[in-house]
C-alpha cells in the first residue's frame, strides 16, 4: 500500500512539475490600449531611478543591420534613458525561435523585427499588436514609401491596418563587375557581337546577351549568378520578380484564385528564361543561396550577381571599385522587384508598460533625423521618401541610387498565415524545374494545384 502511495506521489509530482512554469508577469494588452500621439522620446524625469532601469528588448536576425540598430539603441538610451537590447539570432534559427517564443504566455522580446511574410501569421493569430491608430500619429505616413508601407506594415496589404512599422527596407538588385564592363577590349568585342554598347543591362534581353558574352567556362568566367537556393526563400525571391515582369503572378489577392496565374503562359516563359540563364552561371548555380551568390561574385568569377541590397555594403568592401550596381532589369515597360527587409512589430504578449516603451522606441526611430543616422549604419536602408529622393543619399554609396529607384517596383510573396507552406512547395517545384525533374510547365501546374489546396485548407478560399 505504501509502495503504491509513494509511486502515486512521484507520478503526481512528475506530472505537475512541468506545468509549474513562471506565471504571467503582466497582462497581455488588447489593441485598444494604444496611445496615439505619444511623445516619441520623453526625457527621463530627474531623480527617477526606475527610468534608468527601463529597457526595450528587440529580437532580430544576426546580420549587419542588427549591429546598426544596437548602435542606434545607444543613442536612444542617451536621449530617453531607456536601454535597448538587440538580441541577434542566426538566420537559420530565427523564425523558429521567434514563433516558439510566441508560444509562451509572455514573450522574451518587446519588439520583433519580423520578415515581411510573417505579418499575416502575426496579425491573424493575435501575436502582433495592431498599430493602425497609433502608427500614423507616430510618423507621417506620407514620408513612408507606399510599397514599404503596403508590404512591411499592412495586413492584408492595402487594407490600411498596420501591424508593423518599417525598420529595414530592402530590395533585390544586381552587382556587376565594373572593371570588366569598362575594359575597352571587352566593350569593343561586345559591340561587335551584339551591335550595341556594353552597359549595365536595362532589359532582361540585354541581361541575357551580357551573361552569354561573359560566360567563358574555360577561363573560369561566368555571366551571372541568380538566387536559386532551396534553404528558405531565395529561389522564390529570385524567380518571382522575373515572373511578375513577364506578366505572371502568384494569384488574385482578393479571391486567392491561383490556377491560371501561377501556371500562366507568362509564368512558364519566365521560369524557362530563368532556367536558360543557368547555362551562363557557375557550376552548381541551380542551388545558390544568398551567400553563395555573393561568393560567386567576390571570388572574381562572375560578371553579374543577384542579391539583396543589404548584402552589398559587405560586397563593396571586398570588391572595392571593381563592383558596380544596377536595378533589376525590365521587360517592355514592366519592372518588378522582390521586396526584402523587415518591420518592427510589438508583441501582444508583453505588459502594457513594455509595449509603451516599445512604441516610444519605434516612434523615435522613425523620425527623419534618426533615419538619417540609420542610413549611415552598416546596411541600414530606409523607407523614408524624402531621404530616398535626396541627392545626398543617392550619391552616398555606389548602390544607393539603384536601391532608391527599386522601391517603386517592389512586390512581395503571399504574406497570409499559411505563407510557410506556400513558400515551401514553391521552393520545391521551382527547384524541380531548375533541376530538370519536371518541365517548367509541369512544375508550375503542380505548384498551382498545391497552392490552391493550401489556400483552401487555410480557409482563405471561400464558397467552393
Amino acid at each position: 500500500m505504501r509502495t503504491r502511495f509513494a509511486f502515486c506521489v512521484i507520478l503526481g509530482l512528475a506530472l505537475v512539475l512541468p506545468g509549474c512554469g513562471k506565471k504571467d508577469a503582466g497582462t497581455p494588452v488588447d489593441n485598444s490600449a494604444v496611445k496615439p500621439g505619444e511623445t516619441p522620446a520623453a526625457k527621463p524625469s530627474e531623480g527617477s531611478r526606475n527610468a534608468a532601469k527601463q529597457s526595450v528588448t528587440i529580437w532580430w536576425a544576426q546580420w549587419a543591420p542588427a549591429d546598426g540598430l544596437q548602435q542606434l539603441g545607444l543613442e536612444f538610451e542617451k536621449e530617453a534613458g531607456i536601454a535597448v537590447k538587440v538580441h541577434q539570432i542566426p538566420w537559420s534559427a530565427y523564425q523558429d525561435q521567434v514563433f516558439l517564443n510566441f508560444g509562451n504566455k509572455q514573450t522574451d522580446f518587446d519588439i520583433v523585427v519580423g520578415d515581411s511574410q510573417w505579418i499575416g501569421r502575426g496579425a491573424a493569430k493575435g501575436l502582433y499588436l495592431e498599430l493602425t491608430d497609433w502608427l500614423p500619429q507616430a510618423v507621417d505616413m506620407a514620408t513612408v514609401h507606399p510599397r514599404a508601407a503596403r508590404y512591411l506594415c499592412e495586413y492584408p496589404p492595402g487594407s490600411g491596418r498596420f501591424f508593423a512599422a518599417p525598420c529595414e527596407t530592402d530590395a533585390v538588385g544586381f552587382a556587376y563587375r565594373k572593371d570588366w564592363f569598362a575594359d575597352p577590349a571587352e566593350r569593343a568585342a561586345f559591340e561587335k557581337k551584339y551591335g550595341y554598347e556594353l552597359e549595365p543591362p536595362d532589359t532582361w534581353d540585354q541581361f541575357r546577351d551580357i551573361a552569354e558574352f561573359f560566360c567563358r567556362p574555360g577561363g573560369k568566367r561566368y555571366g551571372c549568378a541568380l538566387l536559386t537556393g532551396r534553404g528558405y526563400d531565395s529561389l522564390v525571391m529570385g524567380y518571382q520578380q522575373i515572373m511578375w515582369t513577364w506578366g505572371g503572378s502568384w494569384g488574385d489577392p482578393q479571391t486567392y484564385a491561383v490556377d491560371g496565374a501561377v501556371n500562366a503562359d507568362a509564368s512558364v516563359e519566365a521560369l524557362e528564361f530563368m532556367k536558360a540563364m543557368l547555362q551562363f552561371s557557375p557550376k552548381g548555380a541551380s542551388n545558390f543561396d544568398y551567400g553563395q551568390t555573393l561568393e560567386a561574385f567576390t571570388n572574381g568569377s562572375t560578371a553579374m550577381a543577384m542579391d539583396y541590397f543589404a548584402f552589398f555594403p559587405d560586397l563593396l568592401a571586398r570588391m572595392k571599385d571593381k563592383a558596380g550596381f544596377f536595378i533589376m532589369p525590365r521587360k517592355g515597360e514592366q519592372r518588378a522587384i522582390s521586396l526584402g527587409g523587415q518591420g518592427f512589430s510589438i508583441s501582444t504578449k508583453r505588459p502594457a508598460a513594455q509595449q509603451d516603451l516599445a512604441r516610444k522606441f519605434i516612434a523615435w526611430f522613425l523620425q527623419e533625423r534618426v533615419q538619417k543616422l540609420w542610413i549611415t549604419k552598416p546596411a541600414g536602408f530606409t523607407a523614408n521618401t524624402s531621404i530616398l529622393a535626396s541627392e545626398e543619399f543617392r550619391t552616398a554609396t555606389p548602390y544607393n541610387a539603384a536601391f532608391a529607384d527599386s522601391l517603386d517596383s517592389l512586390q512581395d510573396f503571399w504574406n497570409v498565415p499559411a505563407y510557410n507552406e506556400l513558400l515551401a512547395v514553391a521552393q520545391q517545384y521551382l527547384g524541380e524545374a531548375l533541376d530538370g525533374v519536371k518541365t517548367p510547365r509541369e512544375a508550375l501546374d503542380k505548384l498551382a494545384e498545391e497552392h490552391a489546396k493550401i489556400l483552401k485548407e487555410s480557409g482563405l478560399v471561400k464558397g467552393e
Binding site: A6, F99, F102, K125
Partner: protein
C-alpha cells in the same frame, strides 16, 4: 519498521531517476499523444480534432514520400556501414582465417574520429567538401581529369551525398562493435579449426560470423533506430524542404515549426515511434533467437 525503512531507502534511491524519467520521457510522450488528437499550432492550442490528424498522416503523399526516403536511407546506410565496419574490423583483427596483433591505439583513434564529431558540424563541413562550385572533392576530381558531379544540387545525388556523410560518420561505430565481437571469440576455437585444417572461408562462415552475430545485430538495431530518426545531416546539407532528402524527422520538423501544425506533427511523431518500436522488437527477437541458437 525495518521493512518500511528498506522500502523508503529503495524509493529514495530509485525515486529521483524515476521522477526524471517520467518528467522527461513519459510525460512528453503522453503529452505528444494528446496533442496528436488536437488542431494545435505553435502559438495557439486548437480544439479536439479526433482522428483527423491520423487520417491526414496516411492520406498525405508527403508522408509516403518521406517514409520511402527514410526506408531507402536506412537500408542503404545501415547495410553499407555494416559491411564496411565489419570488413574494417576483420582487417584489423585478421580474423578471417588467422590472427593478427591488436590494432594500435593511434590507428583505432584515427578511425573513430568521425563518429565523435557533431553531425551538424559535419554536415556543414561536408557542404564545403561537396559543393559543386568550389568544393574540395570536385577540385580533386577536376585535377584527376574526371567529371564534376553536382553533389548537392543534382536531385539524383542529393540523397547519395547525405548517405556518404552518414556512412563516413557511422562506419567506425559498426567497426567498434564488430571488433568487440571478434575479441570475444576464444582463441582456442581458431586453434582447433586450424588443427582440423579448416579453410579461411569455412572459419569465417562457421566460427567468426555466427559468434559475432549477436553483437552485429545489436549494432544494426542501434544504427537502424538512429538512422530512422535522421535529421541533423539532412538539415545541414539540404534543408528540411528538399523532397529528395526529406526524411520523416525532417517532415515532422517542417510540419510543426514551419507549417505551424503541432497536431499533425505530433501524429507523425507517434507513427514514427510505432515504426521504431516495431523494428526494435523485431531486432531484439532476432538477437534472442541467435543467442538461443548458440546456447548463450
Amino acid at each position: 519498521m525495518g521493512e518500511a525503512r528498506t522500502g523508503l531507502l529503495k524509493f529514495g534511491l530509485v525515486g529521483p531517476a524515476l521522477v526524471l524519467l517520467i518528467a522527461l520521457n513519459v510525460f512528453p510522450l503522453l503529452y505528444n499523444v494528446a496533442l496528436s488528437f488536437t488542431a494545435s499550432g505553435m502559438t495557439d492550442s486548437g480544439g479536439f480534432a479526433g482522428t483527423r490528424n491520423y487520417a491526414a498522416v496516411f492520406s498525405e503523399p508527403k508522408f509516403a514520400a518521406a517514409l520511402r526516403t527514410t526506408a531507402v536511407f536506412v537500408a542503404a546506410a545501415v547495410s553499407a556501414e555494416l559491411l564496411l565496419g565489419f570488413g574494417l574490423a576483420l582487417a584489423l583483427r585478421g580474423r578471417i582465417a588467422g590472427n593478427a596483433p591488436p590494432p594500435s591505439a593511434f590507428l583505432l583513434t584515427c578511425l573513430l574520429v568521425p563518429m565523435m564529431l557533431s553531425p551538424a558540424v559535419m554536415g556543414l563541413y561536408w557542404n564545403l567538401v561537396l559543393n559543386g562550385h568550389y568544393g574540395v572533392l570536385n577540385q580533386v576530381l577536376a585535377f584527376a581529369g574526371l567529371g564534376q558531379p553536382q553533389w548537392l544540387t543534382d536531385p539524383r545525388l542529393k540523397l547519395v551525398s547525405v548517405l556518404i556523410i552518414d556512412i563516413w560518420m557511422w562506419t567506425p561505430f559498426m567497426m567498434l562493435i564488430a571488433l568487440a565481437g571478434l575479441n570475444s571469440i576464444p582463441r582456442y576455437i581458431y586453434e582447433a579449426a586450424e588443427i582440423d585444417r579448416a579453410g579461411a572461408w569455412c572459419v569465417f562462415r562457421r566460427i567468426t560470423l555466427p559468434m559475432c552475430a549477436p553483437l552485429l545485430v545489436l549494432a544494426v538495431l542501434l544504427r537502424t533506430t538512429d538512422a530512422l530518426k535522421q535529421f541533423d545531416l539532412v538539415m545541414a546539407v539540404t534543408g528540411p524542404d528538399d523532397a529528395a532528402t526529406q526524411t520523416l524527422s525532417a517532415l515532422l520538423y517542417r510540419t510543426i515549426f514551419r507549417g505551424d501544425n503541432v497536431g499533425l506533427g505530433s501524429a507523425y511523431a507517434c507513427v514514427v515511434l510505432v515504426i521504431v518500436i516495431a523494428l526494435a522488437s523485431v531486432f531484439t527477437r532476432c538477437i534472442g533467437h541467435i543467442q538461443k541458437k548458440h546456447g548463450r
